[in-house]
Structures are given as structure tokens and as C-alpha cells.
Amino acid sequence: MKEAQTLTARELHCWNCGAAAGGTHFCPSCGKIQPLPPDTDYFAFFGLPRRLGLDAHALEASYHELSWRLHPDRFAQASEAERRLSLDRSAQLNDAFRTLRDPVRRVEYLLWLTGRRREGENKQQAPPELLEEVFELNEALEELRQARRTGGDGAAATSLRRQLEAERQKLETMLEAVDAELVEASAAWDRALDSGAAVEPLLDRLNGILNRRSYIRNLVENVRQELAAD
């Protein structure tokens, strides 16, 4: 983070004509495509503030407009250096669009930008209120696997499957609740940005929600796979 900040502070000049280019896609003076600044900010790439509420249609239109200008197809006849810049910029454009168009990845990215989420740390904390639930679930999953291995008696397997099916529905309801929470917290983040309120507690809240969400989602996925394996 430290290095990145010092580099951004430095004025960025056009590699071609030397005019101040300030990290824009094209030099305002000579029109040549510019290298990516060393730090990444997908919001800034689209000229957007770091808000979590995003107009999906406007984002897509902006993505298409930039694709026309940055895609390597448009630089097939250009110099080697420009072709490489186009490759970097259009890759960044696609990465940014892929991240920002998805509301969950968007939050994840904001947390990464603000230093909350790095290198996979505490991504999958078991929510304390779920511990007992998870314990029982894992037991049922193990029993089902056991039954499948031994070819065990059908009635027991059927009842286990019914239990897991119920468990799956419960987890999916939880997932919906967490998603609703995420929407609420995202809106709160945007309000805080507008009013200038403290954002730190909101970042912690968003982080907590994401951790819980990814934990529950993994559980749902496990149960789904196990049920589908039959």
C-alpha cells in the first residue's frame, strides 16, 4: 500500500508527448493510449466514485464504449509499445467490469482496496451462532457418504437425504437473509459517503457479512454436491 501511494502522488506524464496525462486512458494532448498507473482502482478506471450502488446499465454502456476504444483489435496496426499498452488497459477494463458488475465482488473489491481483505485472511470464519448447526450437518454428510460406500440400507439413506434436503433449504434461506443484509449495509456505505459520516465501522460490518456469506455458501455447495452425487 505504501509504495502505491507514493507512486500515485507523482505526476503522470504522457510517454509520447510529455504532457501531463494524470493516469487517463488517452493523453489529453496527443491522444496516445497511456500505461496503467501502478495502483489499481477499478472504480476510477470507469471514472466512478467508490459507491456500492451502481447503475448496471450505465456501467455496461460505459464498458462497451471503452471496449471500442481500448481493445487490441483497435491497435492491430499500431506500434509494439502501443499494442502492449492496449493489452494491459483492455485486460484491466475487463477485470474491472467483471468485478464491479457483480454486487458481491464489488464489496469484496472495496474491502480489498481499503486494506480489509488481503491474501485470503479470515475469509471463512465460522459464525458462532452456526457452530452447532454445522457440527450436525457435517455428521449427517459423513453418514450419507458412509451409507453410499457400504451400499447400506436404503431406508436410512433416504431419511438422511431428506434431512439434508431440509438442511439445504434452511441454509439457502440464511443465504438470502445475508444477501439482504449486504444490500442494506452497501446502502449504508453510500449514505455515509454522501454525509461524510465515519466509514470504518461500515467497512468492518461489510467484512463480517462477507465472511459469513462465504461460509454459508460453502456449506450449501457441499450439501448440494453431496445430494447430487446420488
Binding site: 462497451h64 464504449e65 471500442w68 481493445h71 483489435d73 496496426q77 494491459d88 485486460a91 484491466q92 475487463n94
Partner: protein
């Protein structure tokens, strides 16, 4: 000015096309045999020269151990990968192949990119003959589901053929481009592409913008080992079993006969797309294997192969978040989509009649030409946004894969990772790059390895940022930067199943040996050889018992055609020779029929005698 073409480098056939500057429409280039389909077959002549295309295909029957087909199946693959398939080929995989497969043709050994380069050279010669101008750049198509190694092998082949490969384009996407130009389609389009050796499904969204049309691929999936070849091999297996069972004849030891049988069965397969039934007649020593096949029986045999395509279709739809009924258009591409069963099943699955207006053999090459036009002249206001078919990741602790770029990401795509050292004074960090969807490295496809260099310092102090970029051709590029110094670091990537730059350089030097003879000269030699053998055969036939009952006017027609051909052979116009060969072939048809009938009658008689 040198020209740029679009090339469909197919498993069975390859084609070359260009955009007509006057009409702005793409067109395929017909070769010297009057068809734009160039068989993807290469043969090493005993005199050491290389033959590619139609003349090589003819050698499949006479010199199967010096002739290779379906080389696309071997591109970018390791020896382990092709062990199973080797049984189906008449040529041999060199036992000393290391990671890159090497194929033995007669006394020489070639890698698959070298073989493909011979096919590309042939097409390049066709185009140069057509334009009367040099061709030095090309857009080449690949199956959408090709991995990085298979794409690199294709690009290497282009380089070895003396072509600058401007872009690799996914076959179904190329087909969508050709159709889009043809029909001004809009909305959500599924392209179902079943070729000779590969299957692809791509889901696209066609969007109109003020600048032009955007072809955005939403998802793609496929199977790089599923196609018409599998149907041929299935038929071959059935016929061989039946021959073995009925006549106690094992064709195993006779590769020439197996190729003949394969050819007859492929013919039957084609006929069954038109007719409700067909008959395979295959003469054996002293008997004839005769097999009546109805379309129903044929479809029962191949149904499991066709069903295998719907796994990837469902996956692609799920990845795009769509239901079959939401698609606005379905397009069929690839020769195998001529099978009525395929058409029925696709129509049933999507609930709408698929598009088949454009020739399924040509549409991919036409699309490649359109993309070549876009890249060289900005000819069409069209923009293609394709995706990477497989997730890209690196191996981490415990052999687990950390995914960096998920499958179906729009390309170019990139990811950055920060690496550091684990022990004091460590000077290198080993990185292993993989492609695939599984969690463990050993279940994914190994792409490459490389080492990051760091100066000795305490553990955890080094900070090297690696940028993985998948370019618009779907090929990985790696760059590394030392964050403490800001210096870029050269990364020497060691491909797991590909050729190194040094190997390609060496092959380029070697290939000068095969420097193209003058195209017309080569065509002339081929045409004369062929004329000679048909004249010889005609004479022999005229002397046979069957010819005794031949009506006089048939006999006169044959004689006239033979004389005309002999005269043309003295000249240098290979096209004229070819035309007269066809005429002689036509003239000898009645004779050939009589001879066939006699063979059949004789065997039937023979069998009756035995029975008595």
C-alpha cells in the same frame, strides 16, 4: 502489398478465406482440385519431400505409415494424453517423444506444429496462387475449448509456415461473425460446433452500439476430443468386429486395408445423412464384406456420442445464467452437424430450428477472414469480445490451486499476485501455472513453470509482483516486477507441453529444407503422376474380361479421353490435365461398373460353391 487471410485449421479439412475488397464479403479460396476443402493430411514422400492436402490423402491408402491425418488431435498434448488414441491411428508416435508428442513418418520424426505448418503452407500457396501475390499474415481459428498449450502449438505452426499470426479466433465465435454479417442477427445466440475432432458450444450476446456491433461471448464450453472422428472410429470398430467374426480375418496387420475400410465407412456415414439406408461393400481375399445399414441403426450406434455434446451445452448455459428457451438463435457449425440426428437433437433441446444457411464446412473460415479484415483494415464496424474457456491458477501449498482468472472471463484478462520468500537468503521462487476447474494441481492441466529471481535477504522481505495476462488470442503472458526496485524482470517460462523458442528457431532453420517448390511446378508434377496412374489402370482394365462386352461407343469415348490426356501431359497446364483426368474418369464409369458387378457375381458364386 502482401495479403492477410483467414484460415480454418481443421481436424479433417482446412480452408483459407479472404474478404473481397470490392463487396466487403468473405470468400473461400478454391484450391487446385476445385474445392476449398484441403484435407488436413500430410505425407512424407520416400524421396524426402513433403506432400500436403489432397495428394497426401490419396497416400493414406498406399502409404499409411508415411501419412498423417487428424494431427490437430495431437496439438499441444503430451505422450501420456495420446496413449489411448494411438491405437486408432495408422502412423506411429515416436517412442522417444518426451513431453511434446513426436510423430514418425517413414524415416523422419515431426512435432504436431511442424505437421500443421505443412498444411498451412499448402493453404498459403493456394492463396498466393489466387492473388498472384505474397501472403504473410493470417488469422487462424482454434476450438474455443483449446487450452493454452494447444493454442501456442497452433501459433507455432503459423510461425513455422512463415505466417505472422495476427490472432487466434475461437471457431464458434468466427462462425457467429460470419453469420452476423450475413443475417444481421441480434440478441442471444448459441453456436453449436461439432467438427471432425472437436466440439464447442458458445453462447453470445449481440449488441448494437453507436460505434458498431459487439459480439460478446458470455460462456463457452466443449470437448477437444469429440467429433466426427469418434463416429468413424466407432463404425470402424463395428465393421472390424463383424469381419473378424464372419470371415476370421483380422485387419490389424494391414494398415492399408484399414484405411480403405475407414474410407468406405465414412462414405456410408455421409450417404446416411441423405438416404434412409446404405450399403458398405468391402472386398476381402476371396469374399466380400457386405453390410446394409439403415439410418435408424446408425443413429442408435451414434446416439451416445451425440449425447455427450449436451453436457458442455448445459454447462455453458448454466455459466451464462440462461435457460435453453431464452436463446434467440441457434447456429450449427462443423461438418458433423449435417447428421440429421444432430439437427433433431439440437432443435429439440433449444426448442427452435437451428440456422444452417451457411455451409457448415466454410463458415468458420469465412469468419476468420472477417476478423482478418477487421484487424488489417478496420473493414467492418464489429468488435469481438471473447472469453477464456478454462480457469487459470497457480499451485500453492499442499498442491492446491489458487484460481487467478476464472473461466469465461472476457479476454484480455489479467490478475496480479504478490510473492515473497519463505526462508532466509532464498534466491528463487518457483511458480507453477495451471489451467482447469479442479481444486488440486494434479487434476488440472500444467501450463508452465518459471522461477522468480530475488536477491538474498531475510525471509518475507522480497516482494515480487507477477502479472498474468491472457491476451486476445487466449494465450498467457507473464511479467514480473520487483516492487522494492520497481524493476521489471524477464520471466523465462518453461512450457509443460509446448516447444521452447529455441526449438522453434531450430525448426525454422530446418524447414528451409522444405522451402516451397514453385507451386505450379508441384501441381504439375502431381497432376502428371496422377494422369499416368489412371492411364495405366485404364489400359489394364481395357484388357480385362469385363471389357470384352463393353459397347463400342463406350470404348471409343475412353480412347478419345485417354489420347487427349496424353497430349495434355506433354504440356505444362496442370489445370488442363486435371480437367482431362476427370473426363477420363467419367468415360471409364461404365467399364468400372461392369468390373464391379463381375467381382460381386464371382464372390456370390464362390460362396454358393462352398455351401454346396
Amino acid at each position: 502489398m502482401a495479403r492477410t487471410v483467414g484460415i480454418d485449421l481443421g481436424t479433417t479439412y482446412s480452408l483459407v478465406a479472404y474478404v473481397d475488397p470490392e463487396t466487403g464479403r468473405p470468400r473461400v479460396i478454391p484450391g487446385p482440385y476445385g474445392t476449398p476443402l484441403c484435407p488436413s493430411v500430410v505425407s512424407l514422400d520416400p524421396d524426402g519431400s513433403i506432400v500436403a492436402g489432397e495428394p497426401a490423402r490419396r497416400r493414406l491408402l498406399t502409404q499409411p505409415d508415411r501419412t498423417i491425418y487428424s494431427v490437430k488431435r495431437l496439438m499441444g498434448r503430451g505422450v501420456e494424453d495420446v496413449r489411448e488414441e494411438q491405437k486408432l491411428f495408422s502412423f506411429r508416435i515416436d517412442p522417444e517423444s518426451r513431453q511434446v508428442v513426436r510423430v514418425r513418418l517413414g524415416e523422419r520424426v515431426f512435432t504436431p506444429p511442424e505437421i500443421s505448418a505443412f498444411i498451412l503452407r499448402e493453404l498459403k500457396a493456394w492463396a498466393e496462387e489466387h492473388f498472384q501475390d505474397t501472403v504473410d499474415r493470417a488469422v487462424i481459428t482454434v476450438p474455443a475449448y483449446f487450452n493454452d498449450a494447444q493454442r501456442q502449438a497452433t501459433r507455432d505452426a503459423g510461425r513455422l509456415a512463415g505466417l505472422e499470426v495476427l490472432r487466434l479466433v475461437n471457431e464458434p465465435t468466427a462462425a457467429a461473425l460470419a453469420y452476423g454479417l450475413h443475417e444481421q442477427q441480434r440478441g442471444l445466440v448459441a453456436v453449436y460446433d461439432l467438427g471432425g475432432g472437436t466440439f464447442d458450444i458458445s453462447i453470445l450476446k449481440l449488441i448494437s452500439t453507436t460505434e458498431g456491433d459487439i459480439y460478446q461471448v458470455l460462456a463457452t464450453c466443449g470437448d477437444t476430443h469429440l467429433g466426427g472422428d469418434d463416429i468413424d472410429n466407432l463404425l470402424l470398430g463395428i465393421a472390424r468386429d463383424e469381419i473378424h467374426h464372419r470371415f476370421r480375418v483380422d485387419l490389424e496387420a494391414a494398415p492399408e486395408r484399414i484405411q480403405e475400410l475407414r474410407k468406405a465407412l465414412i462414405q456410408a456415414k455421409h450417404e446416411l445423412s441423405q438416404a434412409e439406408q446404405t450399403r458398405v461393400i468391402f472386398p476381402l481375399d476371396g469374399s466380400v464384406y457386405e453390410r446394409h445399414i439403415t439410418r435408424e441403426e446408425f443413429e442408435d450406434w451414434i446416439a451416445p456420442i451425440i449425447e455427450r455434446t449436451f453436457g458442455p451445452v448445459r454447462q455453458a448455459l448454466a455459466d451464462a445464467g440462461l435457460q435453453p428457451a431464452q436463446l434467440d438463435e441457434v447456429v450449427l457449425v462443423g461438418g458433423s452437424t449435417r447428421l440429421p440426428l444432430v439437427r433433431r437433437r439440437v432443435e429439440q433441446f433449444f426448442g427452435r430450428r437451428p440456422h444452417t444457411e451457411l455451409n457448415p464446412d466454410e463458415v468458420v473460415a469465412l469468419g476468420a477472414a472477417v476478423q482478418a479484415g477487421i484487424l488489417t483494415r478496420g473493414a467492418q464496424p464489429m468488435l469481438l469480445l471473447d472469453v477464456t474457456p478454462l480457469s487459470l491458477g497457480i499451485e500453492t501449498m499442499g498442491g492446491v490451486v489458487a484460481k487467478l482468472i476464472p473461466r469465461n472471463s472476457t479476454i484480455p484478462a489479467s490478475a496480479q499476485e504478490l510473492f515473497t520468500t519463505g526462508v532466509d537468503n532464498q534466491t528463487g521462487i518457483e511458480i507453477h501455472v495451471l489451467q482447469g476447474e479442479r481444486e488440486l494441481a494434479r487434476d488440472c492441466r500444467s501450463l508452465a513453470r518459471f522461477t522468480l529471481r530475488v536477491p538474498p535477504m531475510p525471509a518475507g522481505m522480497a516482494r515480487v509482483e507477477v502479472r498474468f495476462t491472457i491476451d486476445a488470442s487466449g494465450i498467457l503472458q507473464v511479467r514480473a516486477r520487483d516492487l522494492r526496485t520497481g524493476q521489471e524482470q524477464g520471466v523465462e517460462v518453461r512450457p509443460s507441453y509446448g516447444l521452447t523458442d529455441a526449438e522453434i528457431e531450430r525448426m525454422l532453420e530446418e524447414s528451409i529444407e522444405y522451402a516451397e517448390q514453385d507451386f505450379a511446378q508441384r501441381q504439375l508434377i502431381e497432376a502428371r503422376n496422377e494422369a499416368e496412374s489412371i492411364l495405366h489402370y485404364t489400359e489394364k482394365s481395357l484388357a480385362s474380361e469385363a471389357a470384352a462386352e463393353l459397347p463400342d461407343d463406350d470404348r471409343t469415348r475412353i480412347a478419345a479421353a485417354a489420347t487427349a490426356l496424353r497430349q495434355a501431359m506433354v504440356g505444362t497446364d496442370y489445370k488442363q490435365i486435371r480437367r482431362l483426368i476427370d473426363e477420363l474418369n467419367q468415360a471409364t464409369l461404365p467399364l468400372a461398373e461392369r468390373m464391379m458387378n463381375r467381382v460381386l457375381a464371382a464372390t456370390v458364386e464362390g460362396r454358393r460353391l462352398e455351401e454346396l
